[in-house]
């Protein structure tokens, strides 16, 4: 399996999380495989927010869940603070879980609507936390307060009595209660109204500063991801296209797919130029039978025979900007054509 390279990974000393060559395959009917994630490498520095964007089905959630071993990936490593957590025993992994928490898109269904909010937030403490009930309660109250919910009002109410935005805050409080170092946020604002979305984004920024959190933030809305992220990774069909400091990515997209995404993003500005020409829809490739070479080639306006044959490797654009494309949209520092053509041929379809 040809990976897309690791040129973008930083020195281990600078990062808290390091994912290498992550592969996740699921069985599909007829003995086939869903190639959900195919050789992704990513790292996150302590206190940083890494955004992950890409269309539905590109493997964002699969990547996020594999990062906390829920379920463990087919292959690849996930290092947290220097330890490869894919190699831990179940008991060791259990200990490690307190440091890595995840929140999901649909707070209402992930909260158990019939339980009392106080219990919901205390849940992780019963497994991992102090056994002292008073201590538990103090922690729960502190966290509810931190997410802007009055513990005295909320404690004995049930989750279904709260709005979507409040439920998302409660699920953030639950993720925080074990004082994790990393929180993975899988589309935490996608189901919320815009007016509520801003509150949650601001809240995450505040909590990150207050508790020195490291965040992985997944969304399909490019503007939301830019707002909250320091660094952004663009995914397409189980592969990484581009990784960059976020302002740089939006100003100078190097990958044709990033550029397509940015051009499609609806901007609330009547003077923004809309490319009205694009009407056709390409047939989307399936992760069961992904295209050879560059997986984006069936939709890429720049694709050539090389793209069909050879998978592009991640290369440096600038210090904080990397792209996996044979013909990037911006000048690349050390593009080595001979290295590219010398690559082993992809096994093809």
């Amino acid at each position: 399996m040809a990976g897309t390279g690791k040129a973008h990974l930083r020195d281990r000393a600078e990062t808290l999380v390091r994912v290498e060559d992550l592969v996740m395959e699921f069985p599909a009917p007829g003995g086939k495989k869903v190639h959900a994630v195919s050789g992704i490498s990513l790292d996150v520095a302590e206190g940083e927010t890494l955004g992950i964007v890409g269309e539905s089905g590109c493997g964002k959630s699969t990547t996020a869940k594999a990062m906390i071993q829920l379920p463990p990936p087919t292959s690849g490593s996930v290092e947290f603070d220097g330890t490869d957590i894919t190699k831990l025993s179940p008991e060791e992994l259990r200990q490690m879980r307190t440091d890595l928490q995840i929140i999901f898109q649909d707070p209402i269904s992930s909260l158990n609507p019939r339980r009392k909010v106080g219990e919901v937030v205390a849940e992780p403490l019963r497994v991992w936390g102090p056994s002292d009930k008073n201590e538990q309660r103090v922690k729960v109250d502190t966290m509810l307060d931190a997410v802007g919910i009055d513990p005295d009002v909320a404690r004995d109410k049930r989750a279904h009595e709260f709005s979507g935005g409040q439920c998302q805050r409660i699920s953030i409080a639950r993720a925080l209660v074990l004082e994790p170092r990393v929180i993975i946020c899988d589309e935490p604002v996608s189901a919320l109204d815009v007016s509520v979305q801003a509150q949650i984004l601001n809240l995450l920024e505040d909590l990150k500063a207050k508790y020195n959190l490291t965040l992985v933030f997944i969304a399909h809305d490019l503007a939301v991801v830019k707002n909250i992220s320091d660094r952004v990774a663009v995914m397409y069909l189980g592969k990484l296209c581009e990784v960059s400091e976020s302002n740089e990515l939006y100003a100078n997209p190097a990958h044709p797919y990033t550029s397509l995404l940015l051009g499609s993003s609806p901007e609330p500005d009547p003077l923004a130029t809309i490319n009205l020409e694009v009407v056709e829809e390409a047939d989307l490739p399936s992760p069961i039978n992904p295209p050879s070479g560059c997986r984006f080639r069936t939709r890429c306006p720049r694709a050539t025979e090389l793209c069909e044959r050879v998978e592009p490797q991640i290369q440096k654009v600038t210090d904080n900007h990397y792209v996996a494309c044979h013909f990037p949209l911006v000048e690349v520092e050390d593009l080595d054509e001979t290295a590219v053509s010398a690559l082993p041929q992809h096994e093809g379809k």
């Binding site: 409040q166 007016s195 901007e267 609330p268 009547p270 694009v278």
Partner: protein, 377 residues
Amino acid sequence: MESRGTVGRVDRKILVVEDLKTHFKLPAGMVKAVDGVSFDLKQGQTLGVVGESGSGKTVLSRTIMRLTLGNNVHTSGRVSFEDRDILSLSNKEMQKIWGLEMAMVFQDPMTSLNPVVKIGRQVTEHVRKHLNVSKSEAKATALQLLKGVRIPEAEARFNAYPHQLSGGMRQRVSIAIALACGPKILFADEPTTALDVTVQHQILNLLNLQQQERHMAMILVTHDLGVVAGRTNDIAVMYAGKIVEKAPTWMLFSRVQHPYTEALLRSIPRTNQKNHTRLSAIAGRPPDLINPPQGCKFSPRCPYAQDKCREEEPTLQAAQSDEHQFACWYPVGTPENKEAFEKNLAAQLPQTLAFAEGKVVDESVIDNAVALSGGGS
């Protein structure tokens, strides 16, 4: 976009809506889902209807189209479509209007598609049902329509079932059906909300293209101001069952008058802002439509709210020009608005802090304030 396709042509008003109310009777009381909406729409024009979840966008479109809303519904006001009084027509008379003159595209294309019938046949049958044509003519028309909505390899896909198509392709088929009989007005209710951005972009372009080619009127309903920004002639912003601001699209964005519109615009992150830009937030949540707050329904969340707002409900009035209307006592950009803001900031009103500094405020604070002030229940 403003005058494209209208030069040298005097367009008639094809839809006039006056003081439309749609209320639902529930054991707990009346849900005033649409509560006194008025607007008109000219042939060939596109109106965007924007608002948060529950603001009444869907109920408004369904009421105008006379689609079922349940038997606990009470409707009043007037809807005049091509000089016919829609609310007084019988269902039989409506049958001659649905599909032929008025059509609807829904968020979920499966609302209008049959999962067990091949798509070619669905379009063909729709054409035959409404237009007096032979079977082979209908089939040819259906194929033309599928090509028109840019289904790749339409001939080959003629015999596909809906589940064999992507979400975007299915939406194209439902658009083909909606357009089959050349409707004079098309309602599109969140037609792209469930789709990926790239597909959303294509479908919106397709709708724009068809609307212009056919000189059709269109009402585009969405919660996303980005979707309507470059694509509509006018925008109506709905809040709690009412239009709170309505203006030509460019004017709405550049001379926003209503605090709710302003707050919506400022709470949306944008790709041209630097990362970590603090967002203005709208504190609180949309009101309970059975017991809405007294006075202006936005007052519990409005950063500028004054006593007058909590007592007396503002009605739509014209701004500098008649085409721009808003309902607010302290419109954005006026000295009175500035004064109200400073007063609220000094008083540390939670919704004003949320708006000004992006301060995180819990909804219950706002809810409690409403309850204390006697609004709501």
